[in-house]
Structures are given as C-alpha cells and as structure tokens.
C-alpha cells in the first residue's frame, strides 16, 4: 500500500524540513506549503533525490486566513497527515512595546494554524480519517515575563488542539499535540540555550513520526520537559510572579 501524503505547513522552518525528510524517508509523498514558496524548490529537489517520493510545493500564508479554504481545495490531493510547523517568535522586548508586532506573533502562532486546521479538520472528518499534528510549545503551559506574547498564542493553540481532538475522536481523526521545549533552530539561534534541554530539529521530527504511528495525543520533545513543566505549572502564583525564569 502506498503511504499517505503528508502536508507540511510553514515548510521553511528547520523543524518543518526535518519533519518532511523523516516522513519522506518512510515513503510518504510530501506537500510543502509556506510563504515565498519559490524558495522551497531546492528542498523539493533535495527530498526527491534523497527519498524518491513525489514532492509538491504550495504557496501558503498562515495570516491570510481568507485564503485557507481555497488553499485546501487547490491541493492536488487531500493529505492523510497535516503538520503545522507555523510559528513566529519575535523578540519579547519588542513584542511588549510594539503592539502590532505582538498581534502578529499571536496571529501567527494561534489564529493562522487554528484556521487552516479548522478547514482540514472538517474535510478529514468528512473522509473519516486523517492526522493533524500541531507543533505548539511548552511556552504555552504558563505565561512568563520573558516570553508571554508567544506563550499566550501557543497556549491558545494547545487548547484548540485539545478541543479539536475531543471533537474529532468519533470521526477517527487523530490530533497530535507536540510540545517541544527548546529546539536549536534559526528562530532560537541567538538565544543561549542549555544543551541538555535543547533538542535538534531531527529529534522533534523523529518524535512526531513515532507519535503519529502510535496515535499519541500529547508529546513533549525531550521528555524531561514534561517534568519541568509539571513543576512550573504548580508553583503558586504569589511566588511565581516574583520569579525570573
């Protein structure tokens, strides 16, 4: 049996490329979708050469939510698996003073992914099968001064995925929430991240491929983050508000 098509949204990110390569290595045809999709042609060739699967490239703007229905309709084939690696962090300091930028961060990490997943969810439910993989973040588990604009949007997306999973359980559509901790990508290049807690994009991709096969619901990448976030979530607010983390 041929493997199902995997749609990778936000395909220019480091994690997205790793995810596309891992699924391609397993024999899945790939649809790459991002803004400035012409820049994806090198990735298309690379994936095709490495793994001999067909790869198509699609223009997709997460923030242009009005275009999302048409985007899904225009895909050559409704994918079996859709992965959202859409995300934009910005710098917290700028996010605090530049409200417009902050709103862009919120929309990129919540509104855009939730919108495209809503369209895909309805079609997957109609078909009675499919997997939606949302890459959210542990930053959404509790708002912190250093990262709460991004974190709040990820919190929204995490809650959205949880609700979507609940709604689609009866339709045999699988929703996987991925909660990476730190990941060494271009987005975090200038941050000084602790090595033991920082995953490579390939680790995130491996974890996703495994979790899709095992139909897991929520995964942390680098499992230690499950424990770290358990602790962070349980610190009383009166103490937490004075902490610098």
């Amino acid at each position: 049996m041929s493997k199902g098509v995997v749609l990778v949204l936000g395909a220019r990110s480091d994690i997205a490329r790793a995810v596309a390569l891992r699924f391609a290595a397993k024999g899945h045809p790939i649809q790459l979708a991002a803004r400035q999709s012409e820049s994806l042609s090198k990735d298309k060739t690379d994936i095709e050469l490495r793994h001999k699967v067909p790869v198509t490239v699609h223009e997709f703007d997460a923030l242009d939510v009005a275009s999302h229905a048409a985007f899904v309709d225009a895909l050559p084939e409704l994918p079996r698996i859709a992965v959202s690696a859409i995300g934009f962090m910005g710098a917290q300091a700028e996010n605090e003073t530049d409200v417009e930028l902050a709103i862009r961060v919120m929309r990129s990490n919540y509104e855009g992914p939730a919108s495209i997943f809503s369209h895909l969810a309805t079609r997957f439910a109609g078909r009675g099968s499919g997997t939606l993989v949302g890459i959210s973040s542990v930053a959404g588990e509790r708002g912190r001064a250093t990262n709460y604009i991004y974190g709040s949007a990820k919190a929204g997306f995490t809650a959205f995925l949880s609700g979507l999973r609940n709604r689609l359980a009866e339709d045999d559509v699988h929703v996987l929430t991925v909660l990476p901790g730190f990941v060494a990508t271009r987005m975090t290049e200038d941050m000084d991240l602790p090595e033991r807690l920082t995953a490579k994009p390939e680790e995130v991709a491996d974890a996703i491929v495994k979790a899709v096969a095992a139909k897991r619901n929520v995964i942390h990448v680098r499992r230690i983050w499950w424990l770290i976030m358990l602790i962070i979530r349980n610190i009383p607010e009166r103490i937490f508000k004075r902490m610098k983390i």
Binding site: K42, D43, T45, L49, R50, K52
Partner: protein, 440 residues
C-alpha cells in the same frame, strides 16, 4: 562553545555560527578570518577558529543527479552517508570514500580524502568534476581542473584555507550490489605485508591492519584485506532478492567516557593479539556488506570517547615507495620500543597522486592513534623525525600537534601553499588554529 576535532584534543572555546545562505556567509566573512567546519571529523584543530568558526550544516541540499553519468551535485554540508543512502539503492556508490561516512562533501574536498582504492584511482579529487568556492571577496567561483585550475588544485587538500566550499559535483561509480567480496590474508611480518600489497595492485580495494607492538620476526604482522564490489553472481538467493540493500544494524554507542589510562600497553597488546587471531580465523574470502567493510568504526557511535577525557592524537604519514620498507621498519621499532601501541594501526599502499597540496605520495601510509600523554607526545615527535628522515609527509586532517618547522621539513609544498594563499588574498580571510600553528 567548546569545540574540538574528532580526537577531542585540543579543546578550545570558539564562537560558532551556522549561516543559512550565501549572504549570511558574506556577513561572516566581514567579521574577520574564519574557517568553515563540516561534521567535525578532522581529528585535530583543522576546523576550529576561536573567533569565527562557520558551521556548514545548513548547506545540506542535494541539488541534482544525472542517472546516466552518475554525476551528483550537492551542497558542501551534505553527509557522505546520506549520499550512499540516497544512491546506493539506485546502483551508485562514492568513487572514493574515507573510513567514515560521517563526513561532509566539503570536508572531503578540504582534506582531499583517500580511500582503500587510492592505489587504483587516487584521492577524492579524481571524482570531483567541479566545485563552487566563495573567496575572500565574497565572490563565488566555479573551479574545475580546466577552470580556475590553480584555485581548484590548491583547494583540494587545502584544508578550507582557500575559501568556503559551497557546492561540489562528484561522479559516483556504478555498482551491481551493496556487498563487497572481501579476501582476508595474513602477513607474518612487514615484508610479507608489503609483498602482498605489491602483488595486489589489481585489487579494487586494499588495506591492512598492522600490529605495531610485536617485534622480532613478527614485526609488522598484518591482516591484509582486499575487496571487490560483489556482482549479482556472487550473492546468495536471499541477498540477490534485494542486491542493493543490506540488513540494517543498530549502531552501538560508547555510553560513557571511561577513565584515562584504560587503554594502556597491556590492554592494547591483548587487543592486538586477539585481533590478529581473529583475522587468522577469518582468512579467506567472504561477502561483507558495504557498511561493515568501509565503515566498521561508524557502527560504534562516539568511539572516540574510549580514549577518555583527555582525547587522542592521530599520526598518519606517507612515505615514498623507495624509502617505505626502511622507514616503516624504523617507525614500528620506535613504536614497539615505546610500548605505546595503537588500537587502530592501518597500513595502505598509495598510488599516483595529482594536486598541489594533497597528502598521498606513491608509496605507503601508516596511520595510528595514541591517547594524549606526555609520553606519547614524545613518541610522536620521534615518529615525526623518522618520517622526515625517510622523505615522508603528514596528513593534515589527522594532525593536532605538529610544529610549523616539522611541516616545512617534511613538505616543501607548505611554503608554496602559504604563498598561494597570499596570492588569492585568502590568508587574511581564512584561518584555523591549525593554519596558525603551522604558519601556512
């Protein structure tokens, strides 16, 4: 971050960036002298610049493949192992491969690596059609044997000191199967091993493991391994069903760094004796999968850690043919007298070599590794002297400790290389700790 080569010695704190495009590389050039770094498999400090080490891992796309000619164009950060994974199933194999598949194409260019077939085909440059090199001026030049030929010549083996390799076009070689027909032969001493090599010029691949500790009549006893790409007719029925794939083995890894001193004269002597006996048992011809044949050490991830935290040093020299017997004997005597044998001592016959600064010389090469101690450093200096006295030279991809004077005594080309770097205006823009140490 803390950075070293594969030998975990020397370790330095270095500023490392990972640019994601040519524009970002140009910005890195503007920051000051830099060295491009591939997968960090050079043993010493070849790919370390304290202020400006440029990681090439984001240049890792395969760009095109011509299924008629076997010409692959890929970015410099692509790993050799990924090339094999992609093209062996189609019946293509790297025409030249070093002893690990965890190297980048850019690194293979920089060191102008050689493989077990050097005596037949020469070094990596023999399969490089062209390469794109970013020079000190930020311009990208396509270099080939007939185009910017001088730059091409100095770049192969130039240790990344002529510019940044961006893209490489290499010719792969067609194979029928993923298997190697290996013939293992025992040589009772160095003379016998060399005679075996001299009688085996027609073998596609040849290499020997050599026991550096035995003395007397057994000095230089070796296990010589010859290899041919197996044809379909060589495979059994099960293998022939999928001739271009082999069962995957799970890589093992060294789980922790053992205390220094675990590898001492005693354990190494015991290992060498065992290995030799094992070789005697396996003498004869058998089929070996490509991974076990070419990359036995890759199966043990992180094997470099067995030498402990202090790391280890490699010694690899090449001796001209007419001085090889005498030179190798003197080297082996010095090693066994010091009682500091090496786990992995490799002897190989080199054939003709092109290029301006590539390592191989027609003759013999000996490669050894030693844990880092004051005693082994003194021994390596003695080995340097013996090599120079016999007209030999050293492999820069393995070096972590040689002096500028040693390099110049061993290799008159070093001065010309330094001059060429000046001519290309590369000296102010490309530098590694090794190039500074060696004054090239």
């Amino acid at each position: 971050m803390r950075l070293s080569g594969w030998g975990n010695f020397p370790v330095h704190t270095a500023e490392v960036s990972a640019p994601d495009g040519e524009a970002a590389l140009v910005s890195a050039l503007q920051k000051g002298p830099l060295i491009a770094r591939g997968n960090g498999r050079a043993y010493g400090d070849s790919a370390v610049n304290r202020l400006n080490t440029v990681q090439m891992r984001r240049f890792d796309r395969m760009l095109s493949f011509d299924a008629d000619s076997g010409l692959l164009v890929a970015e410099a950060g692509v790993l050799l192992g990924d090339v094999i994974e992609a093209f062996l199933p189609l019946g293509w194999f790297p025409a030249v491969t070093p002893g690990t598949k965890f190297v980048t194409l850019g690194g293979m260019v920089a060191a102008d690596v050689h493989g077990k077939n050097h005596h037949k085909v020469g070094s990596f440059r023999s399969c490089v059609s062209w390469l794109d090199l970013m020079g000190a001026d930020g311009q990208v030049r396509r270099c080939a044997p007939d185009r910017h030929a001088e730059l091409f010549d100095w770049t192969l083996g130039g240790m990344g000191l002529t510019g940044i390799v961006l893209r490489v076009a290499i010719r792969l070689t067609p194979v029928e199967t993923a298997w190697i027909r290996q013939e293992t032969r025992i040589a009772a001493n160095l003379d016998a091993a060399m005679d075996l090599f001299e009688a085996s010029h027609d073998a596609t691949y040849s290499v020997a493991w050599i026991d550096c500790l035995s003395g007397g009549a057994q000095r230089g006893r070796s296990i010589v391994m010859l290899g041919e790409h197996a044809t379909l007719a060589d495979l059994d029925r099960k293998q022939a069903r999928a001739p271009l794939s082999v069962p995957r083995k799970r890589p093992k890894s060294v789980p922790l760094t053992p205390p220094a001193g675990l590898l001492n004269g005693l354990t190494v002597r015991a290992f060498n004796a065992l290995y030799y006996r094992n070789g005697q048992r396996n003498a004869g011809t058998r089929l070996v999968d490509w991974d076990s044949y070419f990359y036995p050490l890759d199966a043990i991830l992180g094997w470099n850690r067995i030498y402990g935290r202090k790391g280890f040093m490699q010694f690899q020299c090449a001796l001209p043919l007419e001085r090889s017997r005498e030179g190798l004997t003197a080297l082996l005597k010095a090693i066994s007298a010091a009682g500091a044998g090496s786990f992995l001592a490799v002897l190989k016959r080199f054939g003709p070599q092109d290029g301006r600064f590539s390592f191989p010389v027609p003759g013999y090469t000996l490669a050894l590794d030693f844990p880092v101690t004051a005693r082994t450093r003194r021994l390596m200096e003695r080995l340097d002297g013996i090599t120079i006295a016999h007209g030999g030279r050293f492999y820069l991809a393995k070096d972590s400790r040689m002096s500028a004077e040693t390099l110049r005594l061993s290799d008159p080309r070093a001065e010309a290389f330094a001059q060429a770097r000046k001519d290309f205006a590369a000296r102010e823009s490309f530098a590694s700790l090794q190039s500074e140490r060696l004054a090239i």
